[in-house]
Structure formats: C-alpha cells, structure tokens
C-alpha cells in the first residue's frame, strides 16, 4: 500500500484531518531531538537513516545546536481509528530572527511549549510563547528531559502553569531522548490543536513562512495555504511586489521534497516560483494566483530592517572580488542581509554590511569564512543612528566614519524592550549591569519563588557591546535574555576617534555615550599601545572627540634593532631574515608613517566579543 501521506494528490486531505503546529523551546531544551523522535515514530524517516538533528541542514546549525532557518515536515499519524496529517513547522531559535518566528507561528494553529525539566523556562522561550499567545495558538505545555537525574518536573510544571494559566497536571512530561511520552504528545496535538479553517473556493492565499535558495532548483518557498488551492497550473503572484512568476513545482516535505499536484486549505508545503533570489519571494509575503488574485493579503508582511552594521574587510586585499561574489551568493538565500562597498584608510576595500542582529552577523561572517574560505576583519558592530543637525538636515549614520561634522542638535539611537529571566539571587547584579548600560527598569515579576522576570528598556548599542557575556558571567550562566525593537530615544552621544601620530584611524572610531567616551578612549589607547610594535620614532596614541583630546598614550620609540654580530657565516641567515622582515613589512597597514600589523587591528577590534546566545 502506498503511504497515503505521499499520495500524488494531497488534495484529498480534509482540513479537519490536518494539524499545523510548531515547537517553542530554548536552545538545548531538546527541540531538535523531539523533532527527530517524531520523524521516527511517524515512520517517515526510518531509524537506520536517522541522523541527529535531522531537520537542521546547515553545518553551523548542527554545530551550534541552533536552528537558523525554519524547517517543516509533513507527518502521518493515526490517532484512535483516524488518520491525520501533522505539519511540524520548526521555528528559528534566536532573537535576531523574531520576525521569521512570528511568520512561522502565523502558519500554525498550535504550539508545543517545550521546557527542559532541569532548567525551567528561558527568556527566549517566554518571548516566543507570548508571541504564540498573541497569535491565538493553542499551547501544549511539555516538560522534556524527565529522564535526567536533575529534573524537577513538579517545580517547573508549577512555573509553566503560573505563566500560561493552566493546571500543573496539564503539563505533559516526555523524554525526547528515550522517546517516553512522545506518542502521547502526538495524540495530544491531534486532540488539542484546532484544525485549520479557510475557504477552499476563495482566491488563493498562501503565507510564505520561509524562503531558501537552492543552487539546483532556485528559490524554494515554504508556504501554508490559507484559502483556495495552490497548483502548478496557475502563475503565482507575490502580493507585496505585485510580480508574478511561473509556478514550477508544488510539493510537500516528507521530509525530503516530494512533488504533489496541488496544496489545499490548511496544507503546508513548498512551491518553486521560478525566481532568482529570496528577496523576490520574501518571508511574510502572501502568494496568490496571477489570474484570480485575492483582493487582500494575509497581512503582517514586513521588509527586514538591519539593526546592526559592521564593516567586513578581507585580510588579503586581493580577496575583495571574492568577498563581493560571496556576499552576492549569500544574499540569494538571505533577504535580510544588506551590504554596500566602503573603503577604510586603515583596512582597505570592504563592505558595510547590515544585519538583523549579532547572531546574524556572526553567522554571515562564519559562512563567508567557512564556505568561501575568506579571512576577514570585521569592525566593531554599531547600530543605526539618526542625527539631526542644527541646519535642520538629518543624517542616518550606519558607520561612525559618516558621523556629521556640523553642529548637531540631537541624536536618536534605537532602543529595545528587553526581558531577562534569572534566579532571584542575581537580581542585584543584573540591575547593576542594566544601570551601567543606561537601562530603565520597566517591571519585575516573580515567575516562581526563586525566578524573576526583569523588564528593561535598553539602548540596542549597549546590548551589542558585550552585554550578553556580562549577563552570563554575572549570573553564572543562569540568566537568559530576549529583546525586541522599541523605537528610538534621544541620547547624548559622541564620536570618539583614535589617532595615531595625529592621524585618525577610521576603523577604530566609535559612537559612544558621552559619559563613556573617556573609558572607551583610554581602554582603546592602552590596548593599542600593547598591540602596536615600537617604531623608529615615538608614536602618540590619542582618543579625541572632535579636536578635543580625552586620552593619550605613547608608544616609545624603538631604540635598538640591530643584530650584534654579522660575520661570514651569518650573512646568508641575515639576508634571509631581511627578506622575511620585508615580507612582514608589506603585510603591515600604514597609518601615516606608523606600521600597524594586521593582528593589531584584529585584536583591537575583536576584544569586545559580540554577544553569543
């Protein structure tokens, strides 16, 4: 008997037999393992073909244990006497991708809230949970890892019950690792998650919740059909752009792509719309048919907006064309990545790149280095500032080098609503951190006896500067953080330049709060004094705001650089040493007459490690 879930015409799937759901979980709480177990128990991936984290396709995802791109899979499941189709839509798990998460949630009617029974709920999870509740999703609370000795299911069941307002006995208990409770969970999905509703006779409306570029097939978009029917017979039309494309293929993921004739109401699958890059088929957009267009889109579409900028430069200047090609290729698959060429006196030719956040930045950088074999220097990340001049002009600054010289009337910087979950013991330490990062306390709530939720408004610039590492170190790793954009605020910001022998080094300029300019200046100057080798002359290092010097260090002139002995047997060695030193000299970056080793730039720019989460 042909497995019915891969039947050539899925049109026969009655919406009442469909359940669309996602899993909301923190990193390491076992989401991918649970998904693996579901694939196995529903029989669509035989256990001998099973590999860990089956749905995480990128190497980086598997290594870091995070899901960057949403994946989805169609699972057949028999509950009682009835056959069902379960669509699991796996969501990305990081604050940088909260918009993608919201679109994945919009494609579901239910969500499994998966919480580690030894750790309790984390900020990220809570943020996504609130998002799911806002989207009217049915929440199925589940404690995972109940097989662990450290599991405290009673305690965390109470905590979850308190947060979502259910009875602690409603919280399911599973072990994704051993499989215990997973079959019951699938039955609960059938029982609790409402079937999709939609009008099969209305014009097609399908929500794009993910869009990926495949080198063989072009762009593949993952969709949830809301109304009507998606078939290869009709050209598809992207409602945000108004552009129509040929519908090359329609299918379902089970879990490998399997073509079908069409997708009907409530169904989740993929469509290949014959477009060249993902910006032509963006996450959140609504697909309709060109011939019989829906009058209104599903709504909720938003163009991704970069929040964090950084300059990326090849360490070897001749790699610049390779970097450009690599960025072009990554952009095919990443509609949120923006970049434009820029040049730095210190670092040469490179690109100013905009990212959704720090993780996005790191992923892009890592993929460039790994997949394209590029060695890169990245400048310290910065946010986007809006600067109003006394002339009434306004300048948007994505690079400290573009900071206007004219009289400034006010500067606006982006702020975020941040949520921090932490054990109550550390509240003082974290409040102290938020205070030094110019945070404003907005609320504090006890989730349980010893767990607290802190709400702060913080400048985004403070969060991208080492905040997460600080938070983790002050709470021994127990705090978790989530945040979302919350507009902008007027702040007293200045640009601090770093000068070597009177010459500004553009790569080291930074926009900082006035109260922190001095500490930034002194720390950068003393760092550089250690990193830059002594020259034949004294090199003053200054930190300055405009023409006002706020910190100064000196690299004393080198006084001795001569080989004491040079006789017959030393000459060959000496000449070879000279050749090597000349080669090293060529790799130096010249700032005026000062020779600065590449390593000094890399070290000076990387000591403020971007936050990892």
């Amino acid at each position: 008997m042909t497995p019915w879930n891969v039947a050539s015409d899925s049109a026969r799937t009655d919406p009442s037999r469909i359940r669309n759901f996602c899993i909301i979980a923190h990193i390491d709480h076992g989401k991918s393992t649970l998904a693996d177990r579901m694939l196995e128990f529903t029989g669509i991936v035989e256990s001998r073909n099973m590999r860990a984290q089956y749905l995480d396709k990128m190497d980086i995802e598997r290594e870091r244990g995070i899901t960057i791109k949403a994946q989805n899979v169609r699972l057949p499941w028999t509950s009682g006497d009835d056959d069902y189709v379960l669509h699991l839509i796996d969501t990305p798990g990081h604050v940088d991708f909260s918009y993608e998460v919201s679109r994945s949630l919009a494609a579901c009617e239910g969500a499994i809230l998966l919480v580690d029974a030894a750790q309790g709920i984390e900020a990220q999870t809570l943020a996504n949970l609130y998002l799911a509740i806002d989207n009217d999703l049915t929440i199925i609370p589940v404690l995972n890892k109940i097989d662990l000795p450290a599991a405290q299911p009673e305690k965390y069941a109470d905590e979850i019950a308190h947060i979502i307002g259910c009875d602690p006995s409603d919280v399911l208990r599973v072990s994704a690792k051993t499989g215990e409770g997973v079959r019951d969970l699938l039955d609960e999905v059938v029982r609790q998650v409402p079937p999709p509703t939609g009008d099969p006779d209305a014009p097609l409306r399908a929500l794009i919740f993910d869009s990926v570029y495949d080198i063989y097939r072009g762009v593949i978009t993952y969709v949830r059909v809301v109304d009507g029917r998606l078939t290869t017979r009709d050209r598809c039309l992207m409602m945000s752009t108004g552009a129509s494309h040929e519908t090359l293929e329609v299918g379902v993921a089970s879990p490998d792509p399997t073509p079908t004739k069409s997708l009907g109401v409530g169904e989740v699958g993929y469509v290949i719309p014959g477009v060249k890059n993902v910006s032509q088929a963006r996450v959140g957009d609504t697909i309709t048919t060109a011939s019989h267009s829906a009058p209104e889109s599903l709504g909720g579409y938003r163009t991704p907006k970069p929040m964090v900028y950084s300059g990326l430069y090849p360490i070897d200047g001749s790699d610049y064309p390779l970097l450009r090609d690599a960025l072009d290729k990554l952009q095919l698959n990443d509609a949120a990545l923006v970049y434009e060429p820029e040049s730095s006196a210190a670092l040469g030719f490179g690109f100013r790149c905009g990212f959704l956040g720090l993780l996005h930045l790191e992923i892009v950088r890592e993929r460039l280095e790994r997949e394209f074999d590029l060695a890169l220097i990245s400048t310290a990340p910065n946010v986007v500032y809006r600067v109003e001049l006394e002339t009434g002009d306004e300048v948007v600054v994505t690079n400290p080098a573009d900071w206007p010289n004219g009289k400034i009337s006010s500067v606006f910087e982006p702020i975020v609503d941040a949520m921090i979950l932490l054990p109550s013991d550390y509240v003082g330490a974290v409040m102290d951190l938020c205070q030094t990062r110019r945070g404003t306390l907005k609320g504090m709530e006890y989730l349980s006896e010893d767990r607290v939720e802190l709400k702060y408004v913080l400048p985004l610039a403070e969060i991208i500067f080492d905040f997460f590492d600080q938070l983790k170190s002050r709470t021994r790793g127990y705090a978790s953080l989530d945040y979302e954009p919350a507009g902008e605020q007027v702040s007293d910001l200045v640009k601090v330049d770093i000068l070597l022998q009177g010459e500004a080094v553009d790569a080291f300029s930074a926009i900082v709060h006035k109260d922190k300019a001095y500490s930034y200046g002194t720390s950068m100057a003393s760092k550089l004094r250690e990193l830059i080798p002594r020259q034949q002359f004294e090199v003053p290092i200054q930190a300055a705001i405009g023409s006002r010097v706020i910190a100064r260090e000196n690299i004393r002139a080198m006084r001795k650089d001569v080989l004491a002995k040079c006789y017959g047997g030393d000459i060959t060695r000496k000449r070879k040493l000279l050749e090597k030193q000349k080669e090293g000299k060529r790799r130096m970056k010249m700032v005026g007459r000062v020779e600065v080793p590449q390593e000094a730039f890399i070290a000076a720019l990387s000591t403020n490690e971007p936050a990892k989460s």
Partner: protein
C-alpha cells in the same frame, strides 16, 4: 657562526665553481677562515658549531684535525685553480688555541704552500684567556700569526659565571701582557654586554678593564640568546630575566662613550679600533663582499657571488675529505638583487657607510627620511654616502629594511 645551516641548492661533490664566480678572483681581496670546532667546555649561551669531546671518532679527533683542515686547503686550491697570495687568515671556533700551536701553524703553513701569503698578511686567531701560555703564544707568533683576539667577555665575576666562562677576570689582562711579550702588537678583546644580572656599572668596569690593557681593538656584542642553548632554556624557565632592549641600547651608548674617550673609533657597528691600521681586515673582507674560503665543519664560504657552507659534524666533514669529496653541504648562487641587498645590509654597518648610488629611487627616499629622522649623518648624506649616526647604529636593521626595496 650559528650552528643551524641555511637551506640551499645542492653543492657538487667536486666543489667546483662556475667560470662566472671565478672571473676576476685574482684581483679581489681573498681571505681564509679556519674553523676549529673544539672547546674545553660549552658555554651556556653558545650555539656555535663546537664540540667538547676531543675524540669524536672516524678521523675527527682534535689530534687529526689539522690534517683534515689541510686537506680542505688543498681542495680550495684545486677548486680556485690559482696560486695567489692570501690577504687574511682567521682561525675561529670553538677555541682554536685548544689545539697545539704547532697544529695551527701547520695549517697556516699549508695555506702559504698552496696560495702564498701576501707580504702584509693579517693572521688572527681567537683564543680564550685561559687557553694560552707564554710558550704557546710565542710559538704562534713565530709560526706567522700577527694578531690575537681574546674572548674576555666581562670583568665581572658573576657575569662570567652566568656565561659559564672558565677564566677569572684578571686572566684576560694577563693574557694580553703575555701576548704582547710574545711579540703580538695587534691584540683585540671581545666583550659581551646585556648578560642577565649585569649592571651598567659592571659594564663600565669591563670596558675600563679592557681599555686599561692597552689593546688596539675591542669588539662589543650584545648577548644574543640563541634558541636551543642552555641560557635560552634558563630564560624560558624564568630563572634569569633578559634585559630589555632599552637597557641594551644604554649599554651600547656607554661602550661608545668610554671607547671613544679612550681614543678608539667605531668602524663597524660592534667594533672599535685605535687606528685605521688596527681594524680587523679579515672581518672587513666579509663586510665589503670580498672572497673568503671557510675551512672546517659548518664553515661558510663566499666566492664571486656563490655562498656555500660545509657539513656541520666534524665526523662527516672528515669522512668527506678523506673520500676526496667536497665537504660543502649546500650552496646558493646570489641573484643580482640578493647581492645588492647583502651589499647594503653589510656596508651600512661600516663607518664608511655605503654610496647612495647603489640605492633605488625608493631607497633614496628612505635614506633622506632616515637622515631627517637623525638615523643617517647629514654631512655624509650630502656627500653621497649613507652613514649611520650613533642612534642609527642601534637601529641599523630597521634602516636596512627601508633602504632595500
């Protein structure tokens, strides 16, 4: 010389040289260096090619060493093909004076026999103060040696101890007197500064002690901690701290001040002489690109733009020669650019400096900037030569990097 050999091209078993390398040989300055790879004990800072066992086996014993060296002198004559007077001969080591004076004079006689010695030949041997006697010195002088260079290193007992030197501070001065009594009027002392534990005052005392002996030549070297030496290991373990470069620079300035005051003049970065005639001509030959043949294990040679170096171990060295094969381990034929680079890096170390016209345009720009920075003498620059200032001498390698394009 440092013990690690460079990489190079294969050297032919005959040791033969191209016609291009030999062209003009008879008209160039020519010196012979004889390496004696034996020491009574190994000093902690030394990475030279030397051995403390006098019996290395396989025809490499100290007793048979002179004959082996003579075999290479004959090979040199065969390869160079020409009987022509030798301008300088230098016996270095190791400790040449660990061999009987008769052995050293026998090798010198072989050089005379094969090539002839020029009428004003300079024949130097290095010596440790404790390795000579009035008798051995007299024998050397009688055998044709004209100059002696003692490894005094320091007058401070604790510095000598750190360097593992065997002699007492007073011995160097006594050796100088003995040498003078034996008829040597050209005597040099080697000093080392920057030894861990040495103070500025220790260094001043060492210089004064050297000056008071009345020698005509002083070499002062900053201690180099070579990788692989016992001293390097002690520094790495943190047992003894190496002085900073600034301290070494100060010591150099002290040497320049005291030696100049005593009537010495610098003529190479690490060398001072009483008068022009007292300069070490053999070493000047290296710095001016002359031809030299290095006899002995690990010895380096240069003839007409070809540099080569012998196998390092005395046993292999002896075996090769007894088989009638050249002891050269490898060689390199310098390109014109390499010869130019060598010329610049060597000549800039000399008080005569280097003619500006050997520099390329970018080197000329660098030279003008070095003059403006006070690293090259302005007057000499105006007269068409690059001559290091006192500060420039301490930064000679940095200047070279700028001058060589």
């Amino acid at each position: 010389m440092p013990s690690a050999l460079p990489d190079g091209d294969p050297a032919p078993p005959t040791g033969e040289l191209s016609a291009a390398a030999l062209a003009g040989f008879e008209a160039r300055q020519f010196g012979i260096y004889v390496h004696v790879p034996f020491c009574a004990t190994r000093c902690g800072y030394c990475d030279f090619n030397t051995y403390t066992a006098t019996e290395l086996g396989g025809g490499a014993s100290a007793a048979s060493y002179a004959d082996t060296a003579i075999a290479e002198v004959r090979l040199a004559r065969h390869v160079l093909g020409l009987r022509r007077p030798v301008d300088t001969v230098f016996f270095g080591g190791g400790t040449p004076t660990l061999l009987p004076a008769a052995d050293l004079t026998r090798v010198l006689a072989a050089v005379d026999r094969e090539f002839g010695l020029s009428p004003d030949v300079e024949v130097t041997t290095e010596a440790n103060p404790e390795s000579v006697t009035p008798e051995s010195l007299a024998a050397l002088r009688a055998g044709g040696f004209t100059r002696i260079s003692f490894g005094m290193q320091s007058a401070a007992p604790h510095v000598l101890a750190t360097l593992d030197r065997q002699h007492t501070p007073g011995r160097a001065a006594a050796a100088v007197s003995e040498a003078r009594a034996a008829g040597f009027d050209r005597i040099s002392l080697d000093l080392i500064y920057g030894t861990p534990g040495e103070s500025d005052e220790d260094w001043r005392r060492s210089l004064t002690a050297a000056i008071e002996t009345g020698v005509d030549h002083v070499s002062a070297y900053s201690l180099i901690v070579e990788p692989g030496t016992r001293l390097a290991a002690r520094v790495a373990r943190g047992e003894i701290p190496m002085p900073e470069d600034d301290v070494l620079a100060d010591r150099y300035l002290i040497a320049e001040a005291l030696l100049t005051q005593a009537g010495f003049g610098w003529y190479e970065v690490s060398n001072w002489a009483s008068g022009e005639a007292d300069r070490a001509r053999h070493n000047l030959l290296y710095w001016t690109g002359g031809d030299s043949w290095g006899v002995g294990p690990g010895a380096h040679s240069h003839v007409g733009g070809v540099r080569w170096w012998n196998v390092k171990h005395p046993r292999e060295y002896a075996a090769r020669l007894s088989a009638g094969v050249s002891p050269a381990a490898a060689r390199e034929t310098l390109t014109p650019a390499e010869r130019r680079a060598e010329d610049i890096l060597l000549r800039i170390r000399l008080q005569e400096g280097l003619p500006l016209d050997v520099l390329h345009p970018s080197g000329l720009v660098a030279a003008a900037r070095a003059r403006d920075d006070g690293l090259l003498e302005a007057a000499a620059h105006a007269a068409g030569r690059a001559v290091l200032t006192l500060r420039g001498r301490l930064l000679a390698d940095a200047v070279v990097r700028d001058l060589v394009d």
